[in-house]
């Protein structure tokens, strides 16, 4: 008796053989105990691997927040390195607005240098005559028409502020107790 190859039995166990090969194997297996045991052995691998489907116990919310923040930073860094907007953004912007985008990138870089100075004054963004965004010791502050709105940062020793050229202020910090990464973006209207 000619037995099917080990590869065919491995594929048969997972229902991965083509129709003809499958019929041939079925016919053989009906009369061969040894090959049936082989197939059973391959089929049991699935049960062994099923444990692999479970994620290990981890704090998903924390991990997801960290990944989202890193993805956002990676994209921002990529845009700076390329020095040009993405395809969709470019299509939307059109020729004239691409210049404005380049100017925005330059302004972002300038804001970055400004923030990284040894004794930096608080970053500040003025979107119009009456609205001013700035970073304070406690968080981001918006002053408009004599009124002030403050978005306080959580418990953290180190908060990174960055000013956006399009009228935004970002605070990024890691909560020293929980380890959660928080990013606050405030946009001036």
């Amino acid at each position: 008796m000619t037995h099917p190859s080990e590869s065919d039995l491995a594929l048969y166990a997972g229902n991965d053989l083509g129709w003809f090969a499958r019929r041939r194997a079925q016919h053989h297996l009906a009369g061969c105990r040894q090959c049936r045991d082989e197939v059973e052995g391959f089929a049991s691998l699935r049960d062994e691997l099923a444990g692999r489907n479970e994620l290990p116990a981890l704090s998903w919310n924390r991990l997801a927040a960290e990944m989202k923040a890193n993805i956002r930073l990676g994209l921002a860094a990529g845009e700076c390195v390329r020095g040009e907007p993405s395809g969709a953004a470019l299509a939307w912007m059109g020729g004239g607005r691409a210049v404005a985008a380049c100017a925005s990138v330059m302004a972002l870089l300038a804001a970055g240098l400004f923030i990284e100075r040894p004794s930096p004054p608080a970053p500040q963004v003025t979107a119009s005559d009456s609205a001013v965004l700035r970073a304070t010791a406690n968080g981001i502050e918006l002053n408009q028409g004599g009124q002030t709105l403050s978005l306080l940062d959580g418990r953290s020793d180190k908060v990174t502020y960055s000013a956006g050229a399009q009228g935004s202020m970002r605070a990024r910090y890691v909560d020293s107790d929980t380890g959660n990464v928080t990013i606050n973006n405030v946009y001036v209207q």
Binding site: L49, A89, G167
Partner: protein, 174 residues
Amino acid sequence: MSEAVEPSLELRERQNRFVSDHLRRIFAQIYRIVGNVADAQDLTQEAFIKALQRQEQLKDEQKAAHWLSRIATNTAIDFLRRSRRAAFVEMDVKAESQDESPEDLLLRSEQRDFLEDGLRLLTARERAALMLRDVEGLPAEEVARRLNCSKATVRSHIANARIKFRRYMEKRKA
């Protein structure tokens, strides 16, 4: 808010939604291939950054999801090829419920190590094919699309992977 800011915000919101919608799925997919959390985290981030830098590919949500899965699979395979590490570092195994005894924890940890040792015998593509077919339950056609190869090649990868893995299991159990 000025008009010039809106499209940028809209784009960012769309990107954020895309990340939120697919993050867990992609992380799990990569974790199954590379087998440890720290590398899966890095590679998930890498896959999303690669995908989001090609905005034109993300217009159709369903196609974008498939495309992202392919990027994730290829990123994980490239990583395995590059590293071919002998040892993986896993995060501490924690109790999934309060009922889980230290013995259960130890057993679960040992089972995971046992599986990892076996999977390490496979090539990067065999490992990815086995995970996608036998763990995620994708049809062979979809596995072929993800690995960017023919269905016959996928069958060959799957057969080799099952044979190697089974021999490993028999040897370890003997």
